[in-house]
């Protein structure tokens, strides 16, 4: 990992430690009759890495879209460093919040360098006339942009592939490029939407280091992830979103120890569980009926529809602590 080399040099969007970078209050998002996000409060302080977890369909990505102006929240407000964010995603980026997408959305037919240069858009001013007339100012700004973009590519370890087409990069490097592109807008807060989805353990580990390096640049990070080991290694605080509502927020130990979280988060029907195994689990569940009942009562309160057997199966799985549920493209990204 080459990330360590250039971490300290620049932190354009950096702020005083402890300052409240993001302050979302009572964010509610309704689509017709469906309430995807209900009254969520979330704060992120500078120098912090905050995790956002929850089962599929809990509203994490919708909440992200509310933060970044892709959606305008039905109720509630989002403040960035004390200022209410405008409801346009390009203005949010200009204000200092950058994001990546759950299913990678690079500009596939542009080069790696051009992708990062597009990320510089809000931090440069050269317009159409400047481009046509090409005064000295244009060349200076262009050179500065390129230098900065190359720095960022070096930071994520892609500088040797600057002239490659983004589409030709392997999956893990596309994720890195998306992070570099987001960093190019000099954000004070970076939102990562499942940055390790589809990665192998080594790549996940590398991403972990990358996120720490970004934090060390003075950029606060809010990350959605399903990989629990990744989240609990990384985050100072973790918030759990279930059915559009925030269940609990706290440090790793608090969240890990909370049995509501375990039941609710992992109580969803386990994807790909075979029918035969399910039958066996039902039998097992019946054997430990008393215990299961206790769990079920709580599970019902939070995650309606989760069956006893499912909850039990999921709890067993949680012990193994390897739940990497990556189904890219499943949640709505727009």
């Amino acid at each position: 990992m080459t990330t360590e080399t250039t971490t300290k040099d620049t932190a354009p969007g950096a702020s005083v430690p402890g300052e409240r970078v993001l302050d979302a209050r009572g964010v509610t998002m309704r689509f017709g009759g469906l309430t995807a996000v209900r009254g969520v409060d979330l704060t992120v302080n500078s120098g912090e890495i905050v995790g956002l977890i929850g089962p599929n369909g809990a509203g994490k990505t919708t909440f992200f879209n509310c933060l970044t102006g892709l959606y305008v929240p039905t109720e509630g407000e989002v403040r960035y460093k004390g200022n209410v964010l405008p409801p346009k995603s390009f203005k949010v980026t200009a204000a200092g919040i950058a994001r990546t997408f759950q299913n990678i959305r690079l500009f596939a037919n542009m080069t790696v360098l051009e992708n990062v240069l597009v990320g510089r858009h809000t931090r440069t001013k050269e317009g159409f006339w400047s481009a046509v007339l090409r005064g000295p100012g244009f060349h200076r700004a262009e050179a500065a942009s390129r230098a900065r973009a190359m720095e960022l590519l070096e930071f994520v370890g892609l500088d040797s592939k600057a002239e490659h087409l983004a589409r030709n990069l392997p999956y893990g490097e596309q994720r890195k490029l998306e992070i570099a592109r987001a960093l190019a807008s000099e954000p004070g807060l970076l939102l990562l939407d499942e940055p390790t989805a589809g990665m192998n353990p080594q790549e996940t580990r590398a991403t972990e280091e990358l996120v720490f390096a970004i934090r060390d640049m003075g950029i606060a990070v809010l990350v959605i992830e399903h990989d629990m080991r990744f989240i609990f290694n990384l985050c100072d605080r973790v918030a759990v979103l279930v059915q559009g509502e925030k269940l609990i927020e706290g440090d790793s130990a608090t969240v890990q120890g909370d049995e509501r979280v375990v039941a609710a988060y992992l109580g969803e029907p386990f994807e790909g569980a075979p029918g035969a195994a399910e039958a066996a689990e039902v039998a097992e569940a019946e054997a430990t009926a008393a215990e299961a009942d206790a769990t079920a009562s709580k599970a019902d309160a939070t995650a309606a529809g989760a069956t006893t057997a499912d909850a039990e199966a999921a709890t067993a799985d949680a012990d193994a602590d390897t739940t990497t549920d990556a189904a890219p493209g499943k949640e709505n990204d727009r």
Binding site: T68, L70, K88, S89, F90, T93, A94, A98, R99, F101, R105, L106, F107, A108, N109, M110, T111, E114, L117, V118, G119, R120, H121, T122, T124, E126, G127, F128, S130, A131, V132, R134, F138, A141, E142, S145, K161, E163, H164, L165, R167, N168, R181, A182, S185, D333, R334
Partner: protein
């Protein structure tokens, strides 16, 4: 696409299963014999073009003279010479190696095919037009036989046969038939496949510039020849030879080499291309073909402006010709024409500014409400606005509305331009060449084209150009990167509109008259919105050379092939469908698009400058 003519030959090939891996020719002739046959028959074809092919000069071009090739014979001569040279180059003849940087076999095949097609086209059209093969002199038979022999010899050259896909035993007869067709098609493609060319070595820069000059001179010659062809047969022969010949040079790797060299000297190339274009009127003895030249240039310039909107920003604009119309009307209204209700005569520079500004305002007025739409909706709305412009211009005639545009009669008798005492209507003598009215306008239009090229190149490779491409690639992601999508799209729309308006101001003076019917959505005469878009797509989206070449072809082909008559649009449609099937990235592909459409092609991961 070019390989289609040989498709019927493929099924006859005995496809022994063992030949899968080992390279072999299409016919059972040994490779050495084939090579010798191709070279020898090439020489004989050259000789045969000096013979008489027919007895009467009724067939245009006078092919009756011994010792002096004329018309189509010259084309066959060129084709045969190229075939022979390429065949000799595959013999590792010293001094010819530079001709075939990516292996000569595929190039020889295509060159032989070009010669064969041109020669047989000539022979067949002689027989058909004069009524029977008796009209052929011995020379005609000789060229038919030798060009066929050269083709057979060339096709016997070895190539890597593709493995046929395993046949599913459960297939029905129809599926087996389709399977064999697919394999035949793959074999045909493999026949003409070439290796990727070696990178060109570093030459001294004066040598590289000389190569660029030579390439540009060749381009000018080919273009001038094409524009000056006097009869249908010659133009068809020209198209056949130029098409296959270009493919042959491409397979030989020469095109790639020239492209690499021009990429090293971009400014020299662009500047040289304008010099070459400016030399065009000097190659003409009268104004007849300069007329075509200036119309092509107007069409091409507008297409290039559209390429900013469509090719870079990805906004499908089906009403683009309206902006040309606005510019033309604006210039016509202030030109001092008796039909203009404003009896003013502005100098040209003022008219140009007014034309471009009027188009800009019109563009912003149309863009502001419509650019909030995406994709198909935008296309439909722009199509509507294009028609609204035409109908409005029709109705502003004093009866249906205020008298501004003189209705369907249009604004006629637009006077010729007079810039600094230079009368564009008069014939001038420059260094012994007489430069007529259309040639004068050709030079003026060339300046406008240069402006458009400059704007395209510079804006495309800058912050705003990257924002356009980003919007085209993924609008949501572009917004999330801080790009004000609406603003950036509106700039693209406005820039495209004002460039078209700029061209319109010249067009008004060239055509004398501006009427609403010149600015249709679709019609037989370019420029109209459909043809403009076709020129961009056919030539290659996002490139500079693409729309210029696309526009030249789209203008010349209907103009030269009068015999197509009512089937012109039909033929055009068929050609467009074929092109989109076999080369969706256009004739001059943008590197980006080429990779986009041909995913199976090996990805040369490194992309040079932005597009072009």
């Amino acid at each position: 696409m070019t390989t289609q003519t040989t498709a019927p030959e493929t099924p006859e090939t005995p496809s022994a299963p063992s030949t899968g891996a080992s390279p072999s020719g299409l016919f059972g002739i040994p490779a050495a014999t084939g090579r010798a046959l191709a070279a020898g028959a090439g020489v004989l074809t050259i000789v045969s073009t000096f013979l008489a092919w027919t007895w009467t000069s009724d067939f245009p071009g006078d092919l009756t003279v011994y010792g002096y090739p004329g018309g189509l014979q010259v084309l066959v001569l060129i084709g045969a010479a190229v075939t022979t040279l390429l065949a000799l180059a595959t013999y590792d003849v010293k001094g010819l190696g530079w001709l075939v940087p990516s292996g000569g076999d595929a190039a020889v095949k295509l060159a032989a095919l070009a010669t064969f097609a041109t020669a047989w086209y000539t022979v067949i059209s002689i027989s058909v037009e004069l009524g029977g093969v008796v009209n052929l002199e011995p020379g005609g038979y000789v060229v038919a036989v030798t060009s066929l022999a050269a083709l057979v010899g060339a096709l016997a050259l070895p190539f890597e046969r593709p493995e046929p896909d395993p046949i599913d035993p459960d297939s029905t007869g129809w599926e087996k038939f389709r399977h064999s067709l697919a394999h035949g098609w793959n074999t045909t493609k493999a026949t003409f496949a070439a290796e990727s060319p070696k990178p060109v070595g570093k030459l001294p820069s004066y040598a590289e510039i000389l190569i660029i000059v030579a390439a540009l001179a060749l381009g000018l010659t080919v273009f001038t020849y094409g524009i000056g062809t006097e009869y249908d047969e010659l133009f068809v022969g020209f198209l056949i030879l130029a098409g296959f010949g270009f493919a042959a040079l491409n397979k030989a790797g020469l095109i790639a080499h020239v492209a690499q060299i021009t990429a090293r000297h971009q400014n020299v190339t662009v500047f040289g291309a304008f010099i070459a274009a400016a030399l065009f009127p000097f190659t003409q003895t009268d104004d007849q073909y300069a007329t075509l030249g200036v119309y092509i240039l107007i069409f091409a310039t507008v297409a290039l402006g559209l390429n900013i909107v469509v090719g870079l920003a990805g906004l499908l604009d089906l009403g683009y010709v309206a902006f040309l119309g606005v510019g033309a009307y604006a210039a016509a209204l202030v030109s001092g024409s008796p039909n203009s209700p404003f009896h003013v005569h502005f100098p040209f520079w003022a008219a140009v500014i007014i034309g471009a500004l009027a188009s800009l305002v019109f563009g912003v007025l149309i863009g502001a409400p419509t650019l909030r739409l995406r994709g198909d909706y935008l296309a439909i709305v722009t199509l509507g606005f294009g028609e609204i412009f035409r109908i409005t211009a029709n109705n502003l005639d004093g009866t249906s509305g205020p008298d501004i545009t003189n209705g369907s009669n249009g604004i006629a008798s637009i006077p010729n331009l007079d810039i600094l005492g230079f009368d564009f209507g008069a014939v001038h003598d420059v260094a012994g060449f007489s430069i007529g009215r259309f040639a004068n306008y050709f030079f003026l239009m060339l300046i406008i084209t240069a402006v458009v090229v400059l704007v395209f190149r510079r804006s495309g490779n800058s912050r705003i150009g990257r924002a356009w491409v980003a919007i085209r690639e993924d609008e949501t992601a572009a917004l999330a990167m801080g790009i004000n999508g609406f603003r950036v799209k509106l700039i693209a729309f406005a820039v495209g509109a004002s460039l078209a308006g700029l061209a319109g101001t010249v067009q008004a003076h060239v055509t004398y008259t501006v009427t609403p019917e010149q600015y249709l959505f679709a019609g037989p005469i370019p420029p109209n919105s459909a043809f403009l878009l076709a020129a961009v797509v056919l030539g290659g989206m996002g490139t500079i050379a693409g729309p210029l070449i696309g526009a030249a072809l789209l203008f010349l082909i209907p103009n030269k092939l009068q015999f197509l008559g009512d089937y012109q649009l039909f033929a055009f449609g068929v050609a467009l469908i074929l092109l989109m099937r076999f080369r969706p990235e256009g004739l001059i592909p943008n590197r980006r698009r080429q990779l986009e459409f041909h995913e199976e092609a090996e990805a040369p991961a490194v992309l040079g400058k932005t597009g072009a």
